[in-house]
C-alpha cells in the first residue's frame, strides 16, 4: 500500500461518507467545542455519563475526511467505556498517530496509523479526541464541585 492509501484507507473513507454518531445529544452532560486554529476546522462533542461510564457520545462539525473519520471511529470505541478506559485508549491512539506504534487492542483504530507519516494531519486526527478528553475533565471538575 502506498502512503496515501495507508492514510485514506477504505474504512476511513466510509466513516467520512457515513459518520457514526454524527448527532447532537439533547441534555448532554457536557457539550464542548474544539477548534483547530491551523486549518479552521471545528468540532462539537456531546457526552452523556452514567456512573462514570460514557453512555452516549456524539459529534457535529466541519472537518476533513481524517478528522471526521477519526471522530466517528472514536465515538464507536468510547461508548460504554469508563473515563479511565477512555483515557487509556486515547493514550494508545496518541502514540500511534504521532510515532506509528500500534499498541495492543487498538482494534479499528489501526486504520488511522498511517496518519503519523503526515505530520500536518496529526492535528486533524486528534482534534475530536482532545476535545473529548477535555470534556471528560470538565465533567470531572464539575463532579468535584458538587
Amino acid at each position: 500500500m502506498s502512503e496515501i492509501q495507508q492514510l485514506y484507507q477504505q474504512l476511513i473513507l466510509e466513516h467520512n461518507r457515513n459518520p457514526k454518531n454524527f448527532k447532537e445529544i439533547e441534555h448532554a452532560d457536557c457539550k464542548l467545542e474544539g477548534y483547530n486554529p491551523l486549518c479552521g476546522d471545528q468540532i462539537t462533542i456531546f457526552l452523556k455519563l452514567e456512573n462514570d461510564v460514557i453512555s452516549d457520545i456524539g459529534f457535529q462539525g466541519k472537518g476533513c475526511a481524517i478528522s471526521k473519520a477519526s471522530a466517528s471511529i472514536m465515538t464507536t470505541m468510547l461508548k460504554g467505556k469508563t473515563k479511565a478506559e477512555a483515557a487509556e485508549i486515547f493514550n494508545k491512539f496518541h502514540k500511534m498517530v504521532t510515532d506509528g506504534t500500534i499498541g495492543e487492542n487498538v482494534g479499528k483504530l489501526e486504520v488511522l496509523a498511517g496518519v503519523h507519516k503526515f505530520p500536518s494531519r496529526v492535528k486533524c486526527a486528534i482534534l475530536a479526541w482532545h476535545t473529548t478528553m477535555k470534556a471528560l475533565d470538565e465533567i470531572k471538575a464539575e463532579d468535584g464541585k458538587r
Binding site: S2, I4, L7, Y8, L13, N16, R17, L38, C39, G40, D41, Q42, K62, G63, C64, A65, I66, F118, R121, C124
Partner: protein
C-alpha cells in the same frame, strides 16, 4: 502569448528541473520559487565577499556594502521611489507593518483616533493594529467586504478621526485588486496617513509609490522570487526622518553615551543589528529578473492564465470559486462540495501538485464566507495552462477517490 517564453523562464528555476514528475507549484501566494540568478547572488556573497556591511575598512566589506546598497537602490527604482533612502530592509512585509505600528502609530495615535483597515486583510495587517489600538486607546475599524471579496462603501468609513488607513493592494484570498490610489486620495483629504500592503500586489503588477502617493508600503521579497527573510518598508522621506527608531542596537546609532544616544541617518536608523545581507542582495537579483521580463508582460500572461483557470475550474461539478470572477489577480480560492480542502491538498500532493488549504491567515474572511477553510491555487510567471489542466484533472480524481458524487 507574444514575447513570453514560459519554457525559457521555467528553465531558470532549479526546482522545476530534471524530475520525472515535475513539480506543479501553485502556492505562489505563500511564497515563490527562486531562479538560479537569485540563488547565485546569495551563494556568491557567501563564497566570494562574505563580510558585514557599513563597518569594515577592507575590500570585501566595501563590496558587501556596495551590493547591499545597490539592491536597495534597485528596489526603490522598481517602485518608482525617487529616493533610495526611503527603503528600509525588513524581514518581510509583516515586519514592515510592525515597524510602522511601533515606530509611527504608537507615537502618533491618541484615544479617539481611528485606525481603519479592511475585512480582507491578512492577519499581518490586522494584529499589529489591534495591538497598537490597545496600546494607544485608538479605535480599530474595518471597511466591510461583500461575498465577492469587494470592499463595500469604503468612502463612508474614512472620516476626520481616521489617522491611519492600512489596506492591502491585492487580497491573498480573493485576488481582488483594491483601488488604493483613489482611497489614498480620500484618506489624505482627511489628513490620514496611508499604509499599503503590497505583499501580494508587487509580484504581479506595477506598483508606483509616487502614483499611489501612499505614505508607507509594505513589501515582501520572498513572494517575488527573492530569498525568505527579506522584505522592505517604503516610507516617505519626511515621515521616516521624523519617526522614532524601531529596534535599538548597532548600526542604527550615531553617538552613544552611557545614558543616551543619537540616531543614524535614515534608513540605517531603522536597521538595527546585522541585516539579512545575502537575502537583501538576492532581493536585488530578483528585481533584476523581473525587470528583464517586464512586470507588464508578467501581468498580462498571468491574467490570461487566471481567466483560463477560472473557466476550466468552473466546469467541475460542485465547484465554488470565491471572489469576483473577472477582475482579479492570479489567486483563486475555491471549495469542491463534499471534498474538504485538506483532503484535496493531500491528494493533489500525490500528483506532485502543491496548493494551499486552510484559512490563509485571513480568518475574518473565512467567517464572512462561512467556511472553515478553502483550497487556493495561486500562479506566477512560470506556471502554464498545462498545469491548470493537470490541476483540474487531479481535482476530478480526488472527487472520485472520495466518492462524493
Amino acid at each position: 502569448m507574444m514575447n513570453f517564453d514560459v519554457e525559457k523562464i521555467r528553465a531558470q528555476f532549479p526546482m522545476f528541473a530534471g524530475k520525472d514528475k515535475p513539480l506543479i507549484y501553485l502556492d505562489n501566494a505563500a511564497t515563490t520559487q527562486k531562479p538560479q540568478s537569485v540563488i547565485d547572488a546569495v551563494t556568491k556573497y557567501y563564497s566570494e565577499y562574505s563580510a558585514n556591511v557599513h563597518r569594515g575598512i577592507y575590500a570585501i566589506s566595501e563590496k558587501a556594502t556596495h551590493e547591499y546598497e545597490s539592491a536597495r537602490t534597485r528596489i526603490a527604482k522598481f517602485i518608482g521611489a525617487d529616493f533610495e533612502k526611503s527603503i528600509v530592509f525588513t524581514r518581510g512585509a509583516t515586519e514592515a507593518i510592525n515597524l510602522v505600528a511601533y515606530a509611527w502609530a504608537r507615537h502618533n495615535l491618541n484615544p479617539g483616533d481611528e485606525i481603519l483597515i479592511t475585512e480582507m486583510e491578512h492577519h499581518s495587517n490586522i494584529i499589529p493594529w489591534q495591538l497598537a489600538a490597545r496600546d494607544t486607546g485608538a479605535t480599530l475599524r474595518y471597511i466591510p467586504i461583500d461575498e465577492t471579496g469587494t470592499l463595500v462603501e469604503s468612502e463612508k468609513y474614512i472620516n476626520p478621526k481616521t489617522k491611519l488607513f492600512a489596506i492591502t493592494q491585492q487580497s491573498n484570498v480573493f485576488g481582488t485588486t483594491n483601488p488604493v490610489k483613489e482611497l489614498t486620495e480620500i484618506a489624505h483629504s482627511f489628513g490620514a496617513k496611508v499604509l499599503v500592503d503590497a505583499a501580494q500586489a508587487m509580484p504581479h503588477l506595477m506598483v508606483d509609490v509616487v502614483d499611489l502617493d501612499c505614505d508607507f508600503l509594505a513589501i515582501s521579497g520572498h513572494k517575488m522570487l527573492a530569498p525568505t527573510g527579506v522584505g522592505a518598508l517604503f516610507a516617505k522621506q519626511e515621515i521616516l526622518e521624523e519617526m522614532e527608531p524601531f529596534l535599538g542596537g548597532g548600526e542604527m546609532i550615531e553617538q552613544v553615551t552611557m545614558e543616551t544616544a543619537t540616531w543614524s541617518e535614515i534608513p540605517q536608523k531603522f536597521e538595527a543589528g546585522t541585516p539579512n545581507i545575502a537575502q537583501a542582495i538576492g532581493f536585488g537579483a530578483a528585481v533584476d529578473f523581473i525587470n528583464q521580463i517586464g512586470i507588464e508582460k508578467i501581468k498580462d500572461y498571468e491574467g490570461e492564465m487566471t481567466r483560463y483557470a477560472i473557466a476550466k475550474l468552473s466546469e467541475i461539478s460542485g465547484m465554488q470559486i470565491y471572489g469576483d470572477l473577472f477582475c482579479r489577480g492570479p489567486v483563486i480560492s475555491f471549495n469542491v462540495s463534499g471534498v474538504h480542502s485538506h483532503d484535496l491538498a493531500q491528494l493533489l500532493d500525490m500528483e506532485n501538485i502543491a496548493i494551499r488549504a486552510g484559512h490563509h491567515c485571513a480568518q475574518p474572511i473565512m467567517r464572512k464566507l462561512d467556511v472553515p477553510a478553502t483550497a487556493r491555487a495561486s500562479f506566477y510567471l512560470y506556471n502554464t495552462k498545462a498545469e491548470v489542466d493537470a490541476l483540474c484533472e487531479a481535482i476530478e480524481k480526488a472527487k472520485w477517490f472520495l466518492a462524493t458524487d
